[in-house]
Amino acid sequence: MTLSALIIAPFAGSLIAACMPANARNREAWLAGGVALFGLLLVSWLFFSHGTDQVIHERISWVPALGLEFVLRLDGLAWIFSALVLGIGMLVVLYARYYMSPEDPVPRFFSFLLAFMGAMLGVVLSGNLIQLVVFWELTSVTSFLLIGYWHHRADARRGARMAFTVTASGGLCLLAGVLILGRIVGSYDLDVVLAARETILASDLYLPALILIALGALTKSAQFPFHFWLPHAMAAPTPVSSYLHSATMVKAGVFLLMRLWPVLSGTDEWTWIIAGAGTCTLLLGAFAAIFQRDLKGLLAYSTISHLGLITTLLGIGTPLSLVAAIFHTINHATFKASLFMAVGIIDHETGTRDMRLLRGLYRQMPRTAILAIVASGAMAGVPLLNGFLSKEMFFAESLLVGGDSNWWMSYAALAVGVFGVVYSLRFIAVFFGRPEQPLPKEPHEPPSWMRLPVELLVLACLVVGVLPGISIEPLLHFGVVAILGGDVPEYHLAVWHGFNLPLLMSVLALVIGAWLFQLLNQRFNLQQRDRAPLIHRLSGAQAYENTMLGLTRAAAFLVRHLGTQRLQPQFMIMMLAMLVLPALLVGGLPPWEVAWPTAIDPYFVVLWIVGCVCALAAAWQAKYHRLAALALAGGTGVITAVTFLWLSAPDLALTQLMVETVTTILILLGLRWLPARLTPKELALKTPWHVWLRRSRDMLIAVGGGLGMALLAYAVLVRPLPEGISGFFLDKALSEGGGSNVVNVLLVDFRGFDTMGEITVLTVVALTVYALLRRFRPAPESVAIPAQRNNPLDAATRQSPAAQANIGYLMVAGIFMRLLLPFMGVIAAYFFMRGHNLPGGGFVAGLIFSVAIIVQYMLAGTSWVEARLTLRPHRWLGYGLTLAGLTGLGAWFFGYPFLTSHTAHLHLPVLGEIHVPSAFVFDTGVFTTVVGCTMLILTALAHQSTRGHRLPDGRPETVEAGGA
């Protein structure tokens, strides 16, 4: 529980922070700081209570069917990273409280920051590789949101997009890599994976897995050639840069490499990929950092370089270099976070970060200056500061690479040391000298609380730098043991190891660096330069933009050449695919059999002759005689319903019949809005030959499809029915579902969840129809009252539909159909009540009830009905869905899964004992929803004819339109 609390707390805090008012800077900061402090205390307690070599696990079942568990796992490495994330997180929150301006919407900021904290903790604590990738992508998302925090700025949006595209693509590669790894090992559990080094190294899939995982790690840690996103991420507020883009998130990449170090490292491929990328990055980053003019840009490139250093150390692959990598990760986090904060203070107090303008800040802000100078000393590797120690370890490791003959790694290391000194000096230069032009703001010291985080971090740099043996060594040991297990190499952290080569390299780096800085200043006017010589053409950002542009163009090309806006060709391809693909997949029809399992009934033949003629005639008439085609299609529908009845499916027959009725009315309502169409004969047109050609082609497809369907159906029908699950349902319907109508029991009980989804779909469709019709704009020529209703000779056109029904030519029908309403209501109720045992049920009853009301609409018009009957279909929908949902939820109170049905036995005074299954209540929900949907769809469509502004000018809304 403690470990999950560690992850839940930041996410919960994030939610709370998001709900706070915009000006609650203090409360937000207290909340975020409190969460971080809570986490920090928790991990400290875990550290002291569990000792150093124990791994704490916490497992929560996630998808048990797939063997997937949510595993949290705290070992030494995870402990170090959690402490970093939480500790620096707390300082950043304090700093951000003073950094953010009152105008900035802070809830968003702290909410994202806390969400990031949770995601990052998720990455380091994951005991399952898939879960790690999920949290990994979550850090990309939160990073995107934080970089784009000031979303009114174009550079922020661009930087956010770039960072997200690069890191999230890397995340996808990582996912693929992890999947391969899981396949090799047979488990995604980290403990299992870490124990399977031999299996992984022996596998053929080792290289692809390594490449994909490396892509994930290298993109995240901004390694060459993916380093370009990090400088653009500097558009984020400085606390974010300090936290995500130097101390923690970018370390996720190296964390992953450390995490999988035991199983992936030690091969030539590992060294070439990881150390190769690292070395390129460290040289490139350090060189580019010298020539930045933006303070944050300098720190960004320096961060890239230091991450490259850590990556290189990991790539070298010796246990000692691993120790150095972890050590440098901690050191870099402390000094770089403090440097970023110092830059934020300078930016905040002077209004600029341009190193061409900034001079002599020491006079106005001496304390900040001292802190920044000490921190940059750590960055440069000055003795007695923590950066010196890990850099010296790096020098020592670089000397071992390549043996006695190959010194390239050592030269590279020395070059990086020199560059580091140069850019650190350039950074420090802003505190000295004399300003050449006035700054945007008169600088002064920041509030002391804003400086406190910097002071604490710089203090840490000093303590570690002076007393490494007692301050950091035990913690470091804890992390190293977690990765290496028992065989930890002999190492000793100390300032003084005697005179040796690494020390010489450190001294050389400092001396040459200072000299080079002087040289660059005097010969190349370094202070005014804003781009790096030689490598400024190697613009990763430009390559990225070009790639994105190329992708967009390629997508547009594909859409242009492969896609179409036209529906007709798409339909044709669909139909052809439907014809050809199944045949290709199955490989033709199964062996042919001629059999007649059931005797032919001549009436059935006649029935279907009528049905087929109807269908063919509908197909023939659909273009020029819509009404006829609709009636004919309806005829086929009725024949289908009769067939259902004939073939022992009374429920289907009922439903089909009612749906047929409602559909026909619906389409009748729509016919009015379609254009009149004259036949070619009436227009005296001759059909051109290419139209004939197209029709012949379509006819061929249609005949092919029909034949295929007939053959397939026959092939299925003459085969005996295999043993399926029907027996189970037949057996259990009465005994466990409490009803003898198996189909209904299936719908409302066994497959209740499915029905729940179905009525939800119905509701969604009904509401969509309603919404679409609210914005309905008919074609101009459809607006006028149809000619039939405008005929001056017809007396009925002067009457409203209600008058027609009350006193006009519809009087007989009117009396009859109004009398019908209560009867149809009773029939609906009857079919509903008996549905569980005999044909009927919620669907049918709902449709019958709807038809009863629609008949009234058709008879007397919308206005007349709605003046007398208040139907609110929206509410029916809502009540129906709620009722069905609540019935399902009710099962939870009895400790059963959702929608488990239950039968209550009641003794009523007159009716005697009756059984009320909960499925009955569910069916009531279905009934209500069906009535609501049908009514909503039909009345929404019917109302279109009565909308006043549609009537032709000069005619007030006296003429009510009837339904159809």
Binding site: P597, A619, V659, A710, A713, L747, V765, V769, F776
Partner: protein, 114 residues
């Protein structure tokens, strides 16, 4: 019976395809209706044809599968019929809406260039 219903389904399905390939929206909606009859019948008859054996277990005793039609395919078709109604309604509204917006009832939203 098997042959009769198979041929009928073929006719329905073929008419449906023919209409779906036509250019006018109304033809397509009628085509969809015809096609859905055929498809519903197909799902239904996967449970085979039974006369006078409705799946109502009214008699006492354990029901024998051979005495009743297949309830599963029936339940599936019942769902399909109702969903078919919903999609027809949606299609209809889009059809008349598109006609108002584009000024034509051609499925492509514009008359074919001929």
């Amino acid at each position: 019976m098997e042959a009769v219903i198979a041929i009928s389904m073929g006719v329905l399905f073929g008419s449906g395809i023919w209409l779906i390939l036509r250019p006018r929206t109304f033809q397509v909606i009628v085509g969809l209706m015809l096609m859905s009859y055929a498809v519903n019948l197909f799902i239904f008859m996967v449970g085979r044809l039974w006369v006078d054996k409705a799946p109502l277990t009214l008699q006492a005793g354990t029901p024998q599968p051979g005495d009743y039609a297949d309830p599963v395919s029936q339940a599936l078709v019942l769902t399909a019929i109702v969903i078919g109604f919903a999609t027809t309604a949606l299609y209809l509204v889009i059809m008349i809406g598109a006609r108002g917006l584009t000024g034509t009832d051609h499925v492509d939203g514009e008359e074919a260039d001929e």
